[in-house]
């Protein structure tokens, strides 16, 4: 080539868009989903509310040159480590390191990478989640490792402040051997031959140590992405100095622009439970403005009339899924489908690439109608994944949705026997045969509809209860608010300021005024809950007010009974009036108590009653409250000497800013271990606080005029309320939600919701978010006039009942009762479908419609008896 042509060819390669438009991808895609002519399209949509759930990005540690993330192959970020552990990651779940794919024997985690850092990046805040995720990664890495794995986490403060997190930390440290080293590593060095990494650090005694690790994980923080910062500008949403969306403590999901709401990490770095809560809270705010037009744009789905198949011989269709290669890559799917065709009653069997795909639903409908199927068996993933989807498809095809049976040949077969495809195929055939055997005996079930009482009951009149009540009432639902004491406001009545500086008393007064004046809220004070019955949509609760019983009927319950301050027995509390708890300090300041401003030396002691063997949890708010109070004291009296005696400073998220300010203002922080707690004694010079300073290695004696104890938040006496509604309590006495991460405001019992400190200690903004979330979740029930109840329930045959009362005594929900005719009766509306009564009944008078004895026996028989014919005989005889 000449120079000109050569340059042109080179430019063509350099401008390569990689795609050569050969259209092979379009041809290969069986679903015809690839269209090279697609362009960006702009849509105009008219909406009433907007929710921003734009998330955050992981911090890129390339700019922190002393960690050499970009140069050393075995320095990875925590996100990359997640991928290393993942079965769908680059090493298929095998614990290996990048440079040589060998299993590391020593892994180090460095905390606070890109967080709590103002020197090399502008992120003074704490990213809230990294301490927990590092512990998790260490624990799971140990599980994955084939040999003993040494894991070391280098940290400044261990921030395990969430529900059950402290226990997880304790277990990792004490039982699983994860090492925790309090030191912030400055530099990572590498051995160029082995690519091992060398960390040099000072331990807590001041001794320099050098350790070599095979892999170093940088626990990167979260930051707002640049593109989202620009988007926020375009949308005219105000951001704060950390580029997160600006909100207020008392309206945690409302942005600066009316009608725009925010949730999750875009608001502030946070973990899954709080992201989920905020999301439901944002939904609550979004719904409030739209409550007048609720339902006006809903399109009702229509279904064909349900075919009556009760007199028909079973005609089964079997659909065997490949799930891409998830099943097909291990199990011989064509062989399983072929086998299914040989089974009695099966008139149709086919294999699908993805049985759950939209086009397969369409073809299943056609097949059901064409082949006149009256039972469907899907051999695929777990029913937990797609049972509802396939039930929908049956309904759309005119079949009762309970005529579906599934065989789990993925989660419980191909995914766990991938090394033995022959055994996996055999097992799949067995599972399909068992499913077919049960399907023969399945019957259509009806789902009764019950009307929904669209009133709500909120228990607890503090900030959480009031927020929930307002959230419900402003959506148009009549709400009863029940409070034990003589006034609304709860713990907030004793608090001074939020950590952002808002005056609490004022805001609480406003809220109380709003609640008491609201037309749709009935407030009952000085009340206790006496008893309750019913089920979601139809509850009856009796409350007792000054000796009088009042019966309330409602569709949902929100439990917002709060928590209370632990009354210390240590540190001279109760023996000297200069020793106060946080709440007492706030009260003293608001009353202008002279001993506060006049104090020359104040000492704050953290973790009083928390993180102890009797209470192995963190009370979450105390570090922040101490910073706030210390700054307030400095403001009142700049000459005051202030000491904070702590174990870990847990000013998570943007609260970290307060810790920085406190240090700048000269507050002195001294760390202590639970083995060497501070000693507080009375002396003629005031109160003497003796503490072993962690840097000097000597005892330091402070003469204090004021000692403030960061006292734990403990659960209230929840046992009787828990008993009334059959709600579970955790070991620490707080209420237990349905799922720690994904359902943080639901109880497992439908129709009952949870908010505030009754769930776990938390600051005001989180209580408000959780209360709004509870209101929003409750509205999913109240907004329907009727609901269908599951058809999978127990039914008593009155002719067989021997009135032995065994079922009445056995049922964990007190559902069976002896009716007017003198025999046991179970109402479909209230039965939970567990079947415990069925097994207990000595007359075999009870049937669980969805798991009949015959169905179970048929499955057992089909499991072991190869010839199905024998199986049929057994069914006919039983």
């Amino acid at each position: 080539m000449d120079e000109e042509t050569a340059k042109r060819e080179a430019a063509r390669c350099l401008d390569c868009g990689i795609c050569c438009e050969c259209f092979q991808c379009a041809e290969a895609c069986e679903a015809r989903a690839i269209n090279h002519d697609m362009t960006d399209r702009l849509f105009d949509i008219n909406v009433g509310s907007v929710i921003l759930a734009l998330g955050s990005e992981a911090f890129d540690p390339s700019s922190l040159d002393t960690y050499s993330y970009a140069r050393f192959p075995n320095v990875v970020t925590s996100i990359e480590f997640e991928r290393i552990l993942s079965p769908t990651g680059p090493y298929e779940g095998h614990l290996q390191r990048p440079s040589d794919q060998q299993e590391p024997q020593k892994i180090a985690w460095l905390q606070c990478i890109g967080s709590r850092e103002i020197n090399r990046c502008d992120h003074p805040y704490c990213s809230s989640v990294c301490c927990m995720y590092a512990i998790k990664e260490a624990v799971i890495a140990k599980e994955h490792a084939e040999h003993d794995l040494d894991t070391a986490i280098f940290f400044m403060d261990m921030r395990t402040y969430g529900k059950e997190f402290e226990r997880y930390y304790d277990r990792a440290r004490e039982e699983l051997g994860v090492r925790f080293i309090r030191s912030r590593i400055h530099t990572i060095e590498e051995d160029p031959k082995t690519h091992d990494l060398v960390l040099r650090y000072a331990d807590e005694n001041g001794d320099i140590r050098i350790e070599t690790f095979n892999l170093v994980v940088l626990s990167v923080g979260l930051e707002a992405s640049k593109s989202l910062v620009e988007l926020a500008k375009r949308l005219e949403i105000e951001l704060d100095q950390d580029h997160f969306v600006q909100t207020e403590i008392f309206s945690p999901v409302e942005t600066s622009r009316k009608g725009f709401y925010v949730c999750g990490a875009f608001r502030e770095p946070k973990d899954i439970p709080y992201s989920v809560m905020e999301a439901s809270a944002a939904a609550c705010e979004a719904e409030k403005v739209l409550s007048d037009v609720r339902g006006t744009l809903v399109r009702e789905k229509t279904y064909p009339e349900e075919k009556d198949v009760s007199s028909e011989e079973p005609r089964l269709g079997v659909f065997v899924c490949n799930c891409g290669i998830n099943i097909g890559g291990v199990v011989d799917v064509p062989e399983v489908a072929e086998y299914a065709r040989t089974l009695p009653g099966v008139v149709f069997a086919e294999e699908n690439l993805f049985t759950c795909s939209q086009d397969t639903q369409e073809s299943m409908k056609e097949v059901v109608q064409r082949e006149k199927l009256n039972r469907v068996v899907v051999a695929s993933c777990s029913p937990a994944t797609h049972e509802e989807l396939f039930q929908e498809t049956l309904k759309s095809a005119g079949l009762n949705k309970y005529l579906l049976e599934m065989a789990n040949i993925r989660n419980q077969c191909s995914w766990v026997h991938s090394q033995d495809p022959v055994a996996a195929t055999d097992k799949s055939k067995d599972l399909v045969r068992m499913a077919v055997a049960r399907a023969h005996l399945m019957r259509p079930l009806s789902e009764p509809t019950v009307s929904v009482d669209d009133k709500a009951l909120v228990i607890g009149g503090g900030i959480s209860g009031m927020t929930a009540a307002l959230g419900l009432a402003e959506q148009g639902f009549h709400t009863y608010l029940v409070e034990q004491s003589s006034e609304l406001g709860g713990n907030a009545l004793r608090l001074l300021n939020t950590w952002r500086g808002d005056e609490i008393a004022d805001r609480v007064k406003k809220m109380v005024h709003q609640v008491e004046g609201h037309a749709l809220i009935d407030v009952y004070k000085e009340c206790s809950i006496k008893e309750a019955s019913g089920f979601v949509g139809n509850f009856q609760t009796t409350i007792s007010q000054n000796g009088t019983d009042i019966a309330l009927e409602h569709g949902v319950v929100v439990v917002a009974v709060g928590g209370k301050e632990y009354m210390p027995t240590e540190y001279l509390y109760g023996e000297d009036e200069r020793v106060l708890t946080h709440l007492e300090l706030d009260t003293a300041i608001s009353k202008g108590d002279k001993k506060i401003a006049g104090a020359r030396t104040a000492v704050f002691i953290q973790c009083v009653g928390s993180r102890e063997p009797e209470r192995p949890y963190c009370s979450k708010v105390c570090c922040t409250h101490t910073m706030k109070s210390a700054l307030k004291l400095k403001e009142m009296n700049p000459e005051m000497d202030i000491y904070v005696l702590y174990r870990d400073i847990r000013t998570y998220g943007q609260r970290e800013e307060l810790y920085r300010e406190a240090r700048m203002r000269g507050v002195i922080f001294i760390r202590y271990n639970p083995e060497s707690k501070p000693e507080v004694e009375k002396s003629d010079r005031g109160i003497t606080v003796t503490i072993r300073d962690h840097i000097l290695g000597h005892n330091v004696v402070v003469s204090a005029d004021l000692v403030v104890l960061a006292s734990a938040i403990v659960s209230r006496d929840n046992a009787s309320l828990a008993h009334v509604y059959k709600l579970p309590l955790s070991k620490d006495g707080f209420f237990m939600e349905a799922h720690a991460k994904l359902r943080p405001v639901d109880f497992a019992t439908e129709g009952i919701f949870l908010a505030g400190m009754a769930h776990y200690p938390k600051p005001i903004e989180e209580s408000i978010a959780q209360a709004k979330a509870a209101a929003s979740r409750a509205c999913t029930i109240l907004s329907h006039k009727e609901r269908t109840v599951s058809g999978a329930v127990s039914v008593v045959d009155p002719d067989l009942c021997g009135i032995c009362l065994t079922c009445v005594r056995t049922c964990p929900y007190d559902v069976p009762f002896i009716n007017k005719e003198g025999v046991a009766q179970i109402d479909a509306d209230t039965c939970h479908g567990c079947g415990v009564c069925v097994a207990a009944c000595p007359y075999q008078a009870i049937t669980l419609t969805s798991f009949t004895t015959e169905q179970i026996m048929a499955k057992i028989d089909a499991c072991f008896i190869q010839e199905f014919r024998n199986c049929e005989l057994r069914i006919a005889n039983s």
Binding site: S382, L431, V836
Partner: protein
């Protein structure tokens, strides 16, 4: 002689054991392919007659897996199952079939690895006990 391949039936409660088995799958843990899971809403649904039927049909092993004690989704169903499994164990011992062929296990829905462990443990146990007496 054909190599003995045990076949073990496992009654798993929907809320814990079945979910743990699903999780073991999501985690891609490998375990012995000898168990066949029967889903039940609660282990309290299972009666002695179901367990005996399995033995009668030639099961080499029977495994009942429910929620952790104190954590039963339906409050106490797993305690009822525990008693019934014990009864069947004693009965089998009396009639000359090893009571170890049937076992009750408890685990939470978060314990994927434990499920795999249980499957392997039971399979090893049955391999040692050999073929079901009813199929000899």
């Amino acid at each position: 002689m054909e190599k003995f391949v045990p076949k073990i039936i496992a009654f798993c409660c929907r809320y814990c054991a079945y979910a743990a088995a699903d999780l073991a799958g999501s985690m891609r843990l490998e375990y012995a392919p000898n168990i066949r899971i029967v889903l039940v809403p609660c282990t309290g649904r299972i009666d002695v007659i179901h367990l005996l039927r399995a033995v009668e049909d030639g099961a080499d092993g029977v495994l009942v897996a429910g929620c952790l004690e104190g954590g039963c989704h339906f409050v106490e169903g797993n305690f009822k199952a525990k008693k019934r499994v014990r009864l069947v164990k004693n009965l089998l011992d009396k009639i000359g079939i090893e009571g170890e062929r049937i076992e009750m296990f408890n685990l939470s829905s978060a314990e994927g690895p434990r499920f795999a462990e249980i499957a392997n443990e039971m399979t090893e146990r049955i391999k040692a006990l050999r073929l079901s007496h009813l199929r000899r």
